[in-house]
Amino acid sequence: MTDTITFGQEISNLLHAAEGEPLKTCIQCGTCSGTCPVAGYMDNSPRQIIALINLGKKEQVLESNTFWYCASCYHCTVRCPQEINITELMYALKRYSIWKNRYKEGLIGPTFSEAFVKMIVRGGRSFEPVLATSYIFSFNTREFVQEIQGATELLLKGRLPLLPARIKRLENFRRMIGRIIPMGGLE
């Protein structure tokens, strides 16, 4: 057993429960970044993130906003000449930064994720108005007003639910989740 592991291995361990280290095979060709529709907003392109991981630059990776900008469109993944699942890597990095409580200040992504997950655990289905409150106050005034306008119109068109939807066998459902995430403990 190795004495310790590199940052690259640490991240690979998050990917396929350690079925090899796909990131090592990156040839830095840039297909992912060239393909990515959001690359322009990222402070490091997806290719650079892989390079930084392979270089062991943990701090720089955690400080990056790259993975929070990933739209999960999988376009990079289908084009990667080395068949690296880059989208999955982005999920892993989001997970990593949430688990480490290390995401950048001011990002809406993590807060929104939390709200979403909490909601599903409570009711089993998604309910937009509750979700909105989790992020809307982080918007600036203009964005806030636009969002409210949009919501009002949706409401008028009958496209917003007024009551949260709940599944019927909610108790079973919550116990089911408890077997995956030990909420409240099991006997």
């Binding site: 599944i167 989740i177 995956i180």
Partner: protein
């Protein structure tokens, strides 16, 4: 009569209720029965994978297990639900360890997933199980002269499942041709709409919507057809915000493909949920060009 288990997904309950209505109406007319899953739960969207993938798999597996009880293949109209369910089924089939763990959780709801259910997207039912030829034979009011931009978006086709074409598929075009309309070829039909970013990275997402609308308009699309509630909301509801943000003047109707098919099958607009849009489609198909003017180039 073909029969499928049907997983509508959260958005189709309200936000995209017109998709739900039109899906039900059109499939019925084409001899396909969709049975809504009993007590389904949210698929976890993409968000769950950020927190705990095992939990995301479990959520999908519950729906899959419920579907498996019916003995029917399961159909999802939302691309994200479809992708999640498809790959959950694939992962559970491949990874015994994972399947065992997830099934242990499913016991709490007296369910078990053994891996026998096939997952399809709603548009695959039209493209494969019904087929464009069959569809064409049922059309009573062909949408002649309407230029429709097929918008594939991301997760219907990606990631790659087998060896299918993930860059230039044609099945959406074939369906549009089958209802008598003209499918337009525009370069961004496969680009992401930024749906999952609209909340967390608003500017990025609005830019992506702008580019898409521009590409469709540049190629004289009268309407964009989508097969995903996320795409529809993003492209349509946020259109006004794009206009405010970028000073553009877009006014492109964005319809579910089932609504367009429904129109061609002669189903009344009301039954198709038409009327809930922010940008209304022209009252009659033939009037579209005059109603919206072509092309609507922005500065």
């Amino acid at each position: 009569m073909k029969e499928f288990a049907y997983f509508p997904g959260c958005s189709l309950e309200k936000m995209a209720s017109s998709y739900h209505m039109s899906a039900m109406e059109t499939t019925q007319k084409l001899g396909v029965k969709l049975n809504e899953l009993d007590d389904w739960n949210c698929c976890g969207a993409t968000t769950y994978f950020y927190i705990d993938e095992l939990l995301a798999y479990t959520l999908c597996a519950r729906n899959l297990a419920i579907a498996e009880k019916t003995g029917l293949d399961v159909v999802a109209p939302c691309s994200a639900c479809y992708k999640n369910m498809f790959f959950t089924a694939a992962h559970l089939k491949k990874d015994e360890d994972l399947a065992e763990h997830v099934n242990f959780a499913l016991e709490e709801d007296n369910l078990h997933f053994s891996g026998n259910v096939k997952v399809k997207h709603l548009i695959e039912v039209f493209a494969q199980d019904i087929g464009p030829d069959e569809l064409k034979s049922k059309v009573t009011k062909p949408l002649e002269g309407i230029r429709i931009a097929p918008y594939y978006g991301c997760q219907i086709i990606r990631p790659q499942k087998e060896k299918e074409d993930v860059e230039q598929p044609q099945f959406f075009e074939e369906l549009i041709s089958a209802i008598g309309a003209t499918p337009i070829n525009y370069p961004l039909k496969m680009r992401c709409c930024g749906g999952s970013l609209i909340i967390s990275s608003r500017t990025a997402a609005l830019t992506m919507v702008r580019n898409l609308l521009q590409s469709a308009v540049d190629n004289q699309a009268a309407v964009i057809a989508t097969a995903c509630p996320m795409c529809q909301v993003n492209l349509e509801v946020y259109q006004q915000q794009v206009n405010l943000e970028f000073g553009t003047n877009f006014s492109v109707p964005v319809m579910y493909f089932t609504q367009l098919i429904g129109m061609a099958l002669g189903i009344p607009n009301k039954k198709l949920g038409i009327g809930k849009e922010f940008v209304a489609m022209a009252p009659t198909p033939l009037a579209v060009e005059t109603a919206w003017g072509l092309p609507r180039k922005t500065k």
